[in-house]
Every structure is written in C-alpha cells, then in structure tokens.
Amino acid sequence: MDLVRHLECFVAVAEQSHFGRAAAHLGMAQPPLSQRIQRLERELGVRLFERTSRQVTITESGTLLLAEARELLARSEAFMATARRIRDGETGLLRAALSPDIAGETVAAVLADFPRRHAGPELELHELSTAQQLARFASHDLDVGVIHHPCDVSGLELGPVLRRELGVLLPRSAAAAVLDEVPLASLTGYDLILFPRNSAPALYDDLLTTCARNGYTPAAVRHGQGASFVRGLVLSAGAVALGPYDAQPADVRDRNADAGSGVVWRPLAGAPLAWRHSVAWPKGRGDAAVNAFAEVATHALRTTAGARGEAPAGPLHLRPASEYWL
C-alpha cells in the first residue's frame, strides 16, 4: 500500500466531509477514493469514517489519527523537496536569499564564507524582499533567507534577531547636519522618504509611529527606494531619508570625507530606529546546509554591518482585551 497516497485521501475526505468533493479536490473519481479509504481502514484495523447515505463524519479514532497523518504528509513533502535539491545540482544546491538593502560587504562576506564553512551544496544566492522570500518558502522554491521583521513568522524557524541601527540622510546644509547624533525631533519641517507602504505595511507603520513618538511627524511621506532617487530628493526637495550606516557610500557616511556629495549620514540620538533581521527557513526543513548558511549570514551581519542582538524589551502592559495573562 502506498501509505502517503492513502493518507492524502484520508485527509481530503476528513476535510471535505464528503466523498464527491474530496474526489474532485484530489482530481480522481469517487469509486477508487472509497476503495482507498476502505483499504486504509482494513490495513490499520481502525474505522476512520461513519458513512450515512447523505454524509461522511470522521470517527473519534479518525480524529486522533488526522493530525499525525497531516504531519506525515508535510514531512514527506519536505523529504521530496530535499531530494529534488540534491538531484538538481551535482552536489546539491542551497537556494538562499538576502533582502535588497543588505550592504555589498555583507553579501560578499556570505559568498566568501559559506564554502569555507560548509563543503556540501553550492550556494545559489538571490536578492529578494521579505514578502518574496515568504512566498518562495511556501512554494518550496527557497531554502533559507535573511528577512526583515516584523513579518508573519508562522511556519518558520528563525535565527537570532539582529538590529541594524538606522541613521538619517540629510542635506549638508541642514542645521542638524553639524550634530554628531541627530535627535528625531530636530528633523521637524522635513518630509520623510520611505519605501512604498504596500511592500511592508507593518514595518512602515512601525517606523512612522516611532518617529512620531520621538517628536518627528513629517508633513508628507515621499516614496522612494533607489539610492540615486533618494539622494536627489534629499539634495533638493526638503526631505530626509533613513538608512543603516553600512548601506551608505563612503563619501556620505564618513564624517571627515570631502564635502563632495552634499548629502551626509548621521546616527540618530538614542538609536530609536533599526532594521531588524533574522535568518529564516521553513519549519522542519532545516538541514546542515541551512544551519551553515544561518551561521555565516549572522556572522556577516555582525562583522560587516555592525548588527547587534536586541536590547531587552521594555515593560509590557497587557490590556484587558488581550484576553491572556501570564
């Protein structure tokens, strides 16, 4: 008996509570589906469903087996994915991704260190946003990646959360440009340049809320992402942008560089804003290659991008509508 195929039938009938609908869902005819269920029941010696003329109900025994059947199917899918990965490359291929804002030095360090750390599969590195990475995890087209928080982490395993503190890009002529550290409140009067909201709504809202809480509510938010477009807006449109130190060119980030570009980068006082990253991979699909990538990427972020572990969280005041209490 092909256990996996029979379990697929069991789960489909349990989910649809109907042989016809389950058969349609599986793309097969109803009689062979009924036969498979009967065969499985015989093989297990357990009655899985009660059948009446009008409907099918799962038995208590069936309910007890259902969760494990789903788990087995998920594991078998992961097994096939690993086999595909091994088949597709001579020694196998690890499909990994970094988000587009990761600095060149970090990308280079990952590419250089991975083969040193892990002799197994070849690294195929992609530039993908967090949303794209999550979609490819779900479709089994990506093995591991460096994502931005906050994002929906259900079904994922994560490495430690790392912070890349954000500074501000502002015109050299701005009053705040002479400061060593710029308080957010001193940016009042400037518009803010941010990525488009729909690419990461939770992160976007988080950034604006933190700016407002620290005394900076921009009159307008302008959307831009490309380095030269952002630079142009900062130079002549009365706007400032946010970004980590490691992602800036040397003439912008170094205090003592010649006044060539007209745009300067300064840290924010109190480091209220950060990109928060971690390495992520689908639950149950972590293997030696994934673990090696996680170590290499975490190390690269720490050494080339100055990323640090998170400070302990502040107090948490759960309100009554939270419904839970620890």
Partner: protein, 290 residues
C-alpha cells in the same frame, strides 16, 4: 479567487497581517470563502464551543444551568477580567459563569465550567454537530502554561520576540485548540437556526453572545445602530480572532468567522483589531448584494 476574497485578503495585508474568513448567509446558504478551510488556533473562540455544549447538556437534562457553584480564589485560571481578576470567594450559577466567560472572556469562568463538564464533552458535542476539524486539546489554564513554558525565563515580555513567537505551541493549530473558519460558521448557523439545541436554549446562547463587551473587532465594521452584532473573540500573541453573527433589520443574518495573524508582535495594535470588522463587512456586503 473571487473579487470579494481578493479584497478581503488585501484588507488583511494592508493591516499588516494575514487572515482567513468564512461568511455564511444563515438562511440562503450563500457563502464567501477567503481561506475557509485553513486550520486555525481558536484561543478564546473555543469558549463558544463550551457554551453550546453546556446548553446541549442542559437540554438533555444532564446539567442544571441554575446550579450554584463555589469558586474560591485559590486555583483560579489567570486572566485580566471577570472571576479571573476578582479577589474574594464567589458563589454563582452555572449560567452566570457562562455569561462572564462570553461577555468578558473570563478565563477562570471557562476553566470552572470545563472542570464541570470535561473537555471530552465539548469535543463530542462538536463532532455531533458535524464540526470535524474542531478540537480542544487543553483547558485555558493548560494553554497558558504552554505559553509560559515556551516563553522561557523572559516571561510575558519575551512574547514580543519573533524568535519566541515561532516556538509557541499555542500558535500551532496541530498542537493546540483548533478549528476552521467554515466549522465556526457552521456552529453559529446551527445555533441561529435552532438546530444545535432547543429554541429555548438557542435563545439563551444568542442572548449571551449579544452581551460581549468588546467593540474593537467585528462590531467596529458595522457602525449602525439598527444592526445587531453578537460574537466571541479570541486573542494570543500575534493571533486575533472573532466569530459572530450580524443581523440586519430586514431579516438578513450572516455568520462570519475571522481568524488573523499579525506580523508585528506587539500586543496593542488597534488596526489589526479593526480589520476583523473591515473584512467581515466586505463579506456581509457581498452576501447582501448577491
């Protein structure tokens, strides 16, 4: 995907999360399916299953809803409302404990009732009603104990760490109390059509569901004095749910089940609460237009 389902998914994304919805016109059977068969963690939504079970047992004569029960302060399940928040001994009837469980999601009340009837009775009642994908594996006290255990020494504050969130058994439908949006509208439909129990008990369940105090989720999507909203919420870190019934003055009545996960791990996220109302409204408007 239908246009309505796409708009519902877009609303969840816009609010910074993911969600699954099923809406059912209780009388015509018309439906909106936006992930209706997704396995979800019920959290406090499971209190609805317990309430229906109590009334089934009462209807069959094996439980007296008027029976007075003692609730000493020691051993009460923790929570921010109702008996869970009170300091002194309480003597109260079964049905008033059920009212507290539903109106303010009182965790101590829920576990008091679960001790009275047992988890198995709840699961049996749900199976009898044809809810094949709804199952309770632990009491509320046990559920919170898994969270405390998984959160580790950092306590409640650690629950904003995404790394901790991925470890919580309470957020994995395979390992906690679970259901699907479709199962929940099936349950509400049965209650509203008086198929779950006798009309007298059905009316009592509907009364209590109409007394829930929270205005921030499903009810927020229906800012109309002449529309009646009855429901039960459920909340855990990154999980926000509500299932309920919306009744219009022209007689239209709609069971809606909404289950969501947020990307942000913060406990206070008003927009994530409100999108449950927004999504329910998109679904009900579509059902009423068809």
């Amino acid at each position: 995907m239908t246009d309505t389902a796409a708009r519902i998914h877009a609303a969840f994304a816009e609010a910074g999360g993911t969600g699954w919805l099923h809406a059912l016109d209780i009388d015509s059977g018309a439906q909106i399916d936006a992930g209706a068969d997704q396995p979800v963690c019920t959290a406090s939504v499971h209190k609805l299953c317990l309430l229906v079970t109590l009334h089934e047992l009462a209807a069959s004569g094996s439980l007296d809803l008027g029976e007075q029960i003692e609730c000493p302060p020691a051993g009460r399940t923790a929570g921010p409302t109702g008996l869970a928040a009170m300091l002194d001994p309480v003597r109260i009837s079964v049905r008033d404990v059920a009212y507290l469980m539903m109106a303010v999601s009182d965790n101590a009340a829920a576990d008091l009732l679960l001790r009275h009837v047992g988890l198995d009775a709840v699961n049996r009642a749900m199976t009898r009603l044809g809810l094949t994908r709804t199952h309770a594996v632990h009491t509320f006290g046990e559920l919170f104990a898994t969270i405390r255990e998984d959160a580790g020494p950092g306590g409640a504050q650690a629950l904003t760490d995404p790394h901790v969130i991925t470890r919580l058994r309470a957020l994995d439908p395979a390992r906690t109390n679970r259901s699907t949006p479709r199962d929940m509208t099936r349950l509400l439909g049965a209650v509203w059509r008086d198929e779950a129990c006798t009309p007298e008990h059905g009316a009592a369940i509907r009364r209590i569901l109409g007394l829930q105090v929270w205005p921030h989720r499903m009810a927020s999507g229906f800012p109309f004095d002449d529309v009646h909203v009855a429901g039960k919420t459920g909340t855990l870190p990154t999980v926000r749910n509500e299932v309920g019934v919306i009744e219009y003055p022209d007689g239209g009545r709609y069971a809606v089940a909404v289950f969501t996960r947020t990307a942000n791990t913060a406990a206070t996220l008003p927009a994530a609460d409100a999108v449950i109302g927004t999504a329910a409204r998109i679904a009900v408007d579509a059902l009423r237009a068809s």
